[in-house]
């Protein structure tokens, strides 16, 4: 059972992807929803909003930390910001699941949002994925244990560290399933 954090954001498009790859799923809105999950998705949305809502439910932050010590977490866009070590903005909560620093809205406001193909290279996989960058963050620095999963124009747009995967864009909005399969099905 994969949980999808549903405090706010595009949780429904992640649910569609999980359905497409035949993984059971449930929406997570409270700490009690987090027990006995085999993984968790932190969706896109507004990282300030999601952080505010998490900070009002301390148990939830503790439970997510506990889950992450055992099971894979996948974050997209706002989810990536939450998973990073540092985003230099005290309005957001950084779980520090990924040894990276991120810059919020690094491409600019919505008029600079765009669609692009990202290049995924992982194990035997070498594939181009359609993806939307919506007021997207950028990955600035990465630690030694962080693998680069995908790039766009020489910029890092997806990373993997241990079980966890984070990406700055939204392949799930264009029905792409590969990143979810890498994270939750061990596809290589």
């Amino acid at each position: 059972m994969i949980g999808v954090l549903a405090l706010q954001g595009n949780f429904d498009s992640h649910v569609k992807i999980l359905e497409k790859i035949n993984l059971n799923h449930k929406l997570v809105k409270d700490s009690k929803d987090l027990s006995s999950l085999s993984g968790l998705i932190l969706p896109g949305g507004e990282s300030t909003t999601i952080s505010n809502l998490l900070r009002r439910n301390k148990n939830m932050i503790d439970e997510i930390n506990l889950l992450a010590s055992k099971k894979p977490i996948l974050g997209s866009c706002a989810g990536l910001i939450l998973m990073s070590k540092n985003s230099n903005d005290n309005r957001v909560h950084n779980f520090d699941f990924l040894d990276i620093t991120t810059d919020r809205n690094a491409y600019g406001r919505q008029v600079y949002s765009f669609e692009a193909e990202i290049n995924v290279k992982y194990g035997k996989i070498s594939s181009n994925l359609n993806s939307l960058f919506i007021r997207a963050p950028k990955v600035n620095e990465i630690g030694r244990k962080v693998e680069i999963l995908a790039t766009y124009k020489n910029e890092i747009v997806a990373v993997k560290q241990g079980k966890h995967v984070g990406l700055s864009c939204h392949p799930e909005l264009l029905d792409e399933t590969l990143i979810h399969e890498i994270c939750f099905k061990g596809k290589k």
Binding site: G44, E46, T48, Q110, L132, R135
Partner: protein
């Protein structure tokens, strides 16, 4: 404009789901809204209930005031242009607002045409009372639909009417002559066919117009809204920050009455509100544009 570019516009609407978009008139209110958990703010000089009271021509807000709000919050900032006023929309795009609301709350600039929204990079949200209106706006390029409701009334009755109307008209498409419907709605057949097949609009569908309490927000979410706009309801109440927090909580946990109860518990008085029968037909915002 390619199909892909349109997806980028709808993409931001997807990110706003499960949230609350709040009307704010200055930086201080914008910060209260952001701190309370608003997913976006609508920057405008006068909130709808004051526009209604003051009368006169209501136009796009002062760009300087919008810019100040953009500089002080991290969440997306929306602003309103008059229906059909593409020059106001161009200015708002140049200002790099994240969403333009082509809004019936402002005085109409063109009684016959809405803005052709396709050439713009910035996404538009438009109000609708029924499916035909929603589809005409989507055909013109709107990336997000909201109910019109009756802004500034503090009365949820019109938003409920519009949401239920759109939902029931989508269900009716199942057994309808779609070509006739396309003619009736004055939109291309493929747009009607897509909605009939998917049984939902091709862009997200939010609620607006008269939401004043956590219960109102929960009601609209349970009726199928994917996010709510709260205009006068927050900053016309006696406890804006508490009410903003409460409405956010009610939207996140809309299906759990105990959570909506705790959100409602310690609030002071909501805005007073107006009966529809007390608003003359020619002063109803929702009658503007079709």
């Amino acid at each position: 404009m390619t199909k892909e570019t349109f997806k980028v516009k709808v993409g931001l609407a997807e990110m706003l789901k499960g949230g609350v978009i709040m009307d704010v008139t200055n930086v201080e209110q914008a910060k209260i809204a952001e701190e309370a958990g608003a997913v976006s703010v609508m920057a405008l000089e006068r909130i709808p209930s004051d526009i209604r009271k003051d009368g006169g021509v209501a136009r796009m807000s002062n760009p300087h005031m919008i810019k100040e709000i953009q500089d002080n919050v991290s969440i997306p900032v929306m602003a309103k242009c008059r229906i059909g006023h593409f020059a106001e929309a161009q200015i708002l795009e140049a200002l790099e607002v994240d969403f333009i609301d082509e809004s019936e709350v402002l005085t109409m600039a063109d009684e016959y045409s809405h803005v052709d929204k396709h050439p713009f990079k910035v996404p538009f949200v438009c109000g609708a009372r029924n499916l035909g209106e929603a589809l005409r706006r989507i055909h013109e390029g709107a990336a997000l639909i909201r109910t019109k409701g009756e802004a500034g009334s503090g009365n949820i009755v019109e938003a409920v009417r519009h949401m239920k109307m759109i939902t029931s008209q989508i269900v009716e498409l199942k057994n309808a002559d779609l070509l006739k419907k396309a003619e009736e709605f004055k939109v291309p057949l493929d747009l009607v066919e897509e909605v009939a097949k998917n049984q939902k609009l091709s862009v997200p569908n939010f609620a607006a117009g008269g939401i004043a309490t956590p219960a109102d927000a929960s009601l609209m979410m349970q009726l199928g809204a994917e996010t709510v706009f709260v205009g006068s309801g927050i900053f016309k109440s006696e406890d804006p920050s508490e009410r903003a927090h409460a409405v956010v909580k009610a939207v996140t946990h809309f299906e759990n009455a105990k959570d909506v109860l705790t959100a409602s518990y310690d609030l002071k008085d909501a805005m007073k509100g107006i009966l529809m029968s007390d608003i003359p037909e020619d002063q109803k915002f929702s009658n503007r544009g079709d």
